[in-house]
Each structure stands twice: as structure tokens, then as C-alpha cells.
């Protein structure tokens, strides 16, 4: 059973068209949920950590939210430079300290 599921797999937006990416998780005792951005040929770049339901974090056009079952990454008025793969990862109470990743959402923003 997948512990972290991201949707959609791919998303194409027009510049300025806001949308949301979803990360759902099935682990118990969530310790942390992490969002990363990955550009081709690069390592994942850290964006946000969320630790408890109801928490929200913002950075420029991105806003991450967390519930007891899922997290959303909201992208407001995206620009072409926001095109990347967005990865979600979790750690949980009875799991290892390393991150368990979802398969990612490939976002393309067209001018």
C-alpha cells in the first residue's frame, strides 16, 4: 500500500491560472510533511515543512496546507519559472527518520 500519493501526475497551466497539487498520506502518527521542488538534472530543493493539521506555510506564489489526511500545495498566479516537479514526503512516528516520497507532480506553466 502506497503511503504517500500525489495527484495529478502531471499538470499544465497557463500563466496566471491558479491551481492546487494534492498529497495524501496513510501513515499514522505523522511527524512531518515536506514539500520539495525538483528541476531537471538537479536535486530536490526544500520548500516547506508542516508538522500538524491546520498548519499553513507561504512563500511567494506557493502556499502549503495540512489536514489529518492530506496536504495541498496551492500555486497562485503561476509563472513559467514555476515549472518543475513538486515532491511531497513524510516521516511518521513508527517509521524511519528518512523521508518517504510520493511520485511527484510534474507542473508545466505556459506563457
Amino acid at each position: 500500500e502506497d503511503q504517500v500519493t500525489q495527484s495529478p501526475e502531471a499538470l499544465r497551466l497557463q500563466e496566471g491560472e491558479s491551481s492546487s497539487l494534492n498529497c495524501s498520506y496513510t501513515v499514522s502518527g505523522l511527524r512531518g510533511l515536506f514539500w520539495y521542488r525538483q528541476d531537471p538534472g538537479k536535486g530536490p530543493e526544500f520548500l516547506f515543512t508542516l508538522y500538524s493539521a491546520g498548519e499553513e506555510k507561504e512563500k511567494e506564489r506557493l502556499k502549503a496546507t495540512l489536514t489529518k489526511k492530506e496536504s495541498f500545495l496551492h500555486i497562485t498566479a503561476p509563472k513559467p519559472e514555476d515549472s518543475a516537479t513538486y515532491l511531497c514526503a513524510v516521516t511518521w512516528a513508527t517509521g524511519r527518520r528518512a523521508l518517504t516520497f510520493g511520485s511527484g507532480t510534474r507542473l508545466q506553466v505556459q506563457p
Partner: protein, 113 residues
């Protein structure tokens, strides 16, 4: 400041050869992680070092894989008798420890001919 540094950035080798991949973590980070990223498999955990504790090796796919961390800093991932299925990008990350964000290097792209 300096981020996580990995070398080489690319490595091409023949099947059956041994390879060593190096990771220099961010200064002061006590936790170091190795992951592997391959097409269709996503990012998978390999091994985790935290300070002087015994490493968590539970993600290593076979006994051909090993890693060490010397002096609590630099780490080397060694793959012996490489196979074609070992072709992937090997990523290293470090963190200040605990449940803090991990910061990644740009990886070593390993190709086995």
C-alpha cells in the same frame, strides 16, 4: 553558504566494476542520508547516518551496497560488482538532525554499460 556537494556528477562504468560516490554534507549537519532516484521508481531511501549512532541500513537493496561516514562529515557510497539495474541518480542529503528539513545535493548520475 555552501550546500551539499556530490562527486562525481556523472559516472559511466562497465557492468561488474566497483564504484564509489562521495558526499560532502553541509557543515554542522549531523544527519546524512543517501537516496536513489530512477525512472519509474521515484526517490527511495538507501541509508541514514546520525552522529555516532549505528547507521540505518534498512534501505540498501543488496549486500553489494555499502556506505561509510568518516569523522562525522564526508560519506562514501560504494557499489560492488555493479549491475545494469544499479543505473540511477544517487542523491545525498543532510540535515541538522531530528525531524528537520533535509537539503539535497544535485546527485551522481550513474550509468552501467
Amino acid at each position: 553558504g555552501a550546500g551539499v556537494s556530490q562527486s562525481p556528477s556523472n559516472k559511466v562504468t562497465e557492468k561488474g566494476k566497483d564504484v564509489e560516490l562521495r558526499c560532502d554534507p553541509i557543515s554542522g549537519h549531523t544527519a546524512l542520508y543517501w537516496y536513489r532516484q530512477s525512472l519509474g521508481q521515484g526517490l527511495e531511501f538507501l541509508i541514514y547516518f546520525q552522529g555516532n549512532s549505528a547507521p540505518d541500513k534498512s534501505g540498501l537493496p543488496s549486500d553489494r551496497f555499502s556506505a561509510e561516514r568518516t569523522g562525522g562529515s564526508v560519506s562514501t557510497l560504494t557499489i560492488q560488482r555493479t549491475q545494469q539495474e544499479d543505473s540511477a541518480v544517487y542523491l545525498c542529503a543532510s540535515s541538522v538532525g531530528g525531524n528537520q528539513p533535509q537539503h539535497f545535493g544535485d546527485g551522481t548520475r550513474l550509468s552501467i554499460l
